[in-house]
Symmetry: C2
């Protein structure tokens, strides 16, 4: 069997990550650069095509042995046709045929999929989900994304939109916190980075005291999730309440997923986990345990992701490789 | 190909339903009798074995052409080993090897599965889910059960416990209504028959007036879901509030399932749907539409089940037939 190599791109709203990968050698080269999506699709894609060519050359592997290009990007997107639809994280991009454009530039078959789904595949094959045939992953960042692997297969669904686990509803009150789309009570509204920041801001506006009040220099609107996490470590009560809210929401979502799907692993990933993940895990586990069938809970450890911010590109590489081999 | 016949039993806490079925002839005979599970497993199973023999004879098909026995029962159960574990709906039953006992009595290979999952299979093959490869069913009764068919296959999961959709969490408040197990905020706590009754009772205790107050003759503790439905049709405000709560909860659960799984159909079944189903559907659809991706909502009509209370036995028959043919 001839060794196969694959190129991959994880196109985020802020950064683009690229890599060259082979099953035998692992990641040969990886790069991270500002994605500058505000320049518009044409210029951005031309720059990224050049970067991918550079990465291919740097890998040392002959260009002829590269079998495919995998691309991860924020949804909603049309994976079948390789098109990025309209998405809040790539503003100004709409109906952009990313797979066709980059595939042509690199002369490779190109596959596009949702970035959270790509990360799910990578964690299952190479990270926190190794050995599991049934798992869910939640990415906690600007939004909350997700992915599901059931019976060993990535769940896509009839329209390819499966896995939007940020839109599990956990609070039916009309005045519940709202997500980026303005909907109240979703997991995204309770456990994303902005959700943590908003909850901490609301606490500080009431108390006007404590470590977070000092850190934000009396300007609650300046509080970010990262600042709130710094205050959490100083014992701030408003930050504590924000983390409790997010951890509880994650625990209820975890219980719902375990009860409904009978999973073997729930993986928490994303930038929010990088700062404050341990506290979220502790609370989420306790809440999930109280709300799930004992057998379902025992079967399904809740764990942190292991592959860091390379997971998206790595999963895109794995999916692209599988697609050309199939 | 020789014609195959199959026997089936749906063992409920109150009634047992039996039938004889063949793919070519459909349901040949069906019966419904009190299950009298309080007599204990030995006597109950002996009576049901006799009833199944009677049904087989009544079918007119030669006993030798019966290929299998399918059994549906309330969970939690061990489908792989055919054992009913401890369950609130069959009180006093614990670790009862139902499949082995009835299979031996009838000299047939016997298959046991969760009753809600059986109903899901029946509705997909012969009822409200025909033509769909991706669907969920919710049964609204004393509890809330569920079933999932994904990519055309019944979702069981590694322990066979998948489909417990009554334990999706929709209210994170600690003082949210509680389910039969005492857990707050689950779909079961908001949309089961007892949940409707409790919500209506609470309303009447506050107002002490209106059609429902008269129907219950001033004794709110006597209010059942059926009585509340009668009051709903008379325009009672407490009953209206109870139905709004359940319909909203169903809509949020529907949105969560559509967003997470990308389904083609959501089917609402069970005794609660028989009385007051139309009102629940209307509210659930509006709430689900507001809370889901437009594409996911358009793809997934929310509909009432079509097979009535024969669905469980019919699905058990279909699953048993598939198992012996596989």
């Amino acid at each position: 069997v001839k060794e196969s190599f694959v190129l991959a791109l994880d196109l985020g709203g802020t950064y683009a990550k690229t890599l060259a990968y082979s099953p035998r050698h692992g990641v040969l080269v990886s790069t991270k650069l500002p994605s500058r999506v505000d320049e518009g699709p044409t210029r951005t894609l031309a720059r990224l095509a050049a970067e991918l060519k550079r990465v291919r050359a740097l890998s040392g592997a002959p260009a002829a042995l590269f079998a495919a290009l995998g691309i991860g990007a924020p949804g909603p997107l049309d994976a079948r046709r390789g098109i990025i639809l309209k998405t809040p994280n790539l503003s100004g991009w709409r109906n952009v045929p990313v797979a066709a454009a980059l595939g042509k530039a690199l002369r490779l078959p190109a596959l596009l999929d949702n970035d959270a789904r790509c990360a799910t595949v990578a964690e299952q094959r190479l990270g926190a989900g190794r050995g599991c045939r049934d798992l869910a992953l939640l990415t906690l960042g600007t939004g909350v994304g997700g992915g599901l692997i059931l019976d060993g297969r990535l769940r896509r669904g009839p329209d390819g939109s499966a896995g939007e686990l940020g839109f599990l509803y956990l609070d039916r009150a009309p005045d519940a916190p709202r997500c980026n789309f303005g909907l109240p009570g979703s997991l995204e509204a309770l456990a994303s980075g902005p959700a943590l920041a908003h909850a901490a801001q609301a606490g500080v506006r009431r108390t006007r005291r404590g470590p977070l009040w000092r850190l934000c220099q009396g300007r609650p609107e300046a509080i970010t999730a990262a600042m709130a996490h710094a205050a959490l470590k100083l014992g701030d009560a408003s930050a504590r309440a924000a983390w409790d809210q997010a951890g509880q929401a994650l625990g209820l979502a975890a219980a719902s997923l375990m009860n409904g799907l009978n999973l073997e692993r729930l993986i928490l990933a994303g930038g929010v986990m990088a700062g404050g993940g341990r506290e979220l895990l502790t609370r989420a586990r306790a809440v999930a345990k109280a709300g799930s069938y004992p057998q379902a809970y025992r079967r399904c450890p809740i764990v942190a992701a292991q592959l860091g911010d390379e997971a998206g590109a790595l999963g895109a590489a794995l999916l692209a490789l599988e697609a050309v081999k199939a």
